[in-house]
């Protein structure tokens, strides 16, 4: 009897070792690229070429970060990533605010002010979530040209807002549908109008979904490359395009430490958002999976 218990105990322990062992090995695999990026960015070029890849730097230097931020050459300009970082900020902030605001009011209308055909409208909006953007970049380039917005940050803000509406509307619609209609009806009986109900009943109750929507849009727009590379050139590019240009420059000895520092600079804003508000990030991520 006692041997039976101890063998069951042992197999349980073996199982736990297997579970934790696999999880740790996998975690190491997923962390490895980040580790390699960070240590490489802190090494001198000589140390890298002498064959140090995964180990800690012998001598920590932030030279590569300074270069990537302020001196690396992108095209003919050698001002580093800084101007492009600013471009991305100027693009992402208005686009996030606009698309989230529009999504909020759309979601409010599609749940609390339903009209004949409002479900069809929602369905048509929804397809925008799954649009391969290659199918629209040609006409969009033409339209931006006609509006005199090609190659400008406002042009990118417009594009990201238009193609962000589908997702933000989806977020807010699914959230507002859980808010009881009695709440809005009561406000209406008290004499509150369309906008009044939105601002003083709906919005105060929707902080979590506002966070989800902002994080999702921020990550998507900051990380976008296709629109950036299609609609901008040179000085007005967002950071992803600039990063790709730095990495693909092949003059002289390849500066891997600068490449990695540049990649880190481009990654840090979304990584910070992820670390600070990961829970909301996951909610945005799985919202696209219809019933997950």
């Amino acid at each position: 009897m006692s041997t039976e218990i101890s063998s069951a105990h042992r197999s349980h322990q073996l199982g736990r070792i297997f579970i934790y062992g696999s999880l740790i090995v996998l975690a190491a695999f997923y962390l490895m690229p980040l580790w390699v990026m960070i240590v490489t960015s802190l090494k001198s070029l000589d140390e890298i070429y002498s064959g140090s890849f995964i180990g800690l730097p012998k001598l920590i230097t932030i030279e590569a970060w300074e270069k990537a931020w302020g001196q690396a050459c992108i095209g003919t300009a050698c001002d580093g990533l800084r101007p492009y970082f600013v471009n991305s900020l100027l693009m992402v902030i208005p686009a996030v605010v606009l698309s989230t605001g529009i999504g909020a009011i759309n979601g409010y209308i599609l749940t609390k002010w339903r009209f004949p055909g409002s479900n069809l409208v929602f369905g048509l909006l929804l397809f925008g979530c799954f649009l391969p953007f290659q199918a629209v970049i040609l006409p969009m380039a033409q339209l931006l040209g006609k509006l005199r917005l090609s190659g400008t940050i406002p042009g990118l803000v417009l594009v990201h807002t238009v193609y962000g509406i589908s997702f933000t509307t989806l977020f807010f619609r699914n959230y507002f549908i859980t808010i009881p209609d009695e709440l809005t009806r009561a406000a209406q009986i008290d004499g509150a109008g369309f906008f009044r109900i939105f601002f003083s009943v709906m919005l105060p109750a929707s902080l979590p979904i506002i966070v989800v929507s902002c994080i999702w849009q921020f990550t998507q727009i900051w990380n976008d490359f296709l629109f950036g590379v299609s609609f901008t050139a040179g000085q007005s590019s967002p950071i992803t395009v600039a990063l790709n240009n730095i990495v693909n420059v092949t003059m002289g000895r390849k500066q891997y430490n600068v490449d990695m520092a540049a990649a880190m600079i481009a990654a840090i804003p979304t990584l910070i958002v992820y670390v600070v508000a990961g829970r909301y990030f996951v909610r945005g991520l799985t919202a696209g999976a219809v019933k997950g």
Binding site: L125, Q134, A135, T161, N223
Partner: protein, 328 residues
């Protein structure tokens, strides 16, 4: 595409049928008495506020798709031409060897990317579901690549897979001096490098959806099966995994969508090379349109991509819709 109120609703939502909304109240009032100007305004205001979004999406999605479709039927090269040449550009597209490479790569890439991402993602989800310590931390570790840009991922992996200074060298220095890992420089293997980086980036996503599915399964099912004497692996294989069908469907559809549009990763990691060995439909479309002055061919390839995505997404949404119907 049909719209359905419950199509995207999360579990635990109010069924949409139960919400009558404010506008219907007004609508009823309107039926009974004549419309005052104020009522009429209240009735139309929401639609008025919604209309700019509708116009934007109608133009940006549907009109632009039609526009691209039209260009794919024209003789456009450097600038758009609005003539009609039938399916000439499609014939030209399918006669282009480079497009053949792109389509073949898409199949290889999608098959491997889906198989590996789903198996690893499901394995991690099951392991994490065994009441492990530090689950939150581990989950965050597996998922953080999803927050990165594909350009960042491509840059990092390009360096890791570099045969002179990267992983190959590390393994050689560990003592296995004949170890060779130079796939990224070899045309016949470079596509597998794209698979590795894409799997690394997307596993967390599959894991998150599977984990949500696992958490929705009643624990008593596992307990009952254990009492019957079934071991854990058997319980998972024959009971739990089949119950994850909806999660599988979501993961398969969304990963296929990611793989069809994957563009940034290929560009950053291999720049569609060596030669054009890792060309994908998305990179083909881009270079035809913006680099090689073949706008018509580019538009035709974009339409092929759109049709592939629609062939996957529309039935998916439709099946979700039918399932919801049956539940009610």
């Amino acid at each position: 595409m049909r719209a359905d109120p419950d199509l995207i609703s999360q579990p635990g939502c109010h069924p949409a049928g139960a919400s009558s909304g404010i506008s219907e109240n007004i609508g009823n009032a309107v039926m009974r008495s004549t419309l005052s100007l104020k009522d009429r305004f209240t009735l139309w205001l929401p639609r008025l506020v919604l209309s700019p979004s509708l116009v934007a999406v109608f133009v940006g999605v549907y009109l632009f798709i039609a526009w691209t479709g039209w260009i794919s039927l024209s003789s456009s090269k450097m600038v758009p031409q609005y003539d009609f040449v039938g399916l000439e550009q499609y014939v030209r597209l399918w006669a282009t060897p480079r497009w053949g490479t792109a389509v073949a790569n898409l199949f290889v890439f999608t098959a491997l990317f889906l198989t590996i991402t789903i198996s690893v993602g499901l394995a991690i989800a099951i392991l994490l579901d065994q009441r492990v310590r530090a689950e939150g931390f581990l989950r965050a570790v597996y998922l953080y690549p999803m927050a990165l840009s594909f350009i960042v991922t491509g840059t990092a992996w390009k360096w890791i897979l570099n045969p002179d200074l990267g992983v190959e060298k590390v393994v050689q220095e560990l003592g296995w001096s004949s170890f060779v890992f130079d796939w990224i420089t070899r045309p016949e293997y470079a596509i597998y490098c794209v698979v590795i980086a894409a799997v690394w980036q997307s596993t967390g996503f599959a894991m998150a959806i599977f984990l949500a599915g696992l958490r929705g399964i009643d624990n008593s099912i596992i307990k009952a099966a254990q009492i019957e004497g079934a071991g854990l692996p058997r319980i998972y294989l024959s009971i739990i995994v089949p119950m994850l069908r909806p999660a599988f469907l979501s993961v398969i559809v969304l990963l296929s969508y990611i793989s069809i549009k994957s563009f940034d990763l290929v560009l950053a990691l291999t720049n569609a090379g060596p030669g054009n060995a890792t060309e994908m439909p998305s990179t083909f479309m881009f270079s035809a349109t913006f680099r090689r002055n073949q706008m018509g061919v580019g538009a035709a390839s974009a339409m092929m991509m759109l049709m592939t995505v629609a062939a996957i997404i529309v039935p998916y949404l439709y099946s979700e819709l039918r399932e919801t119907r049956n539940e009610h």
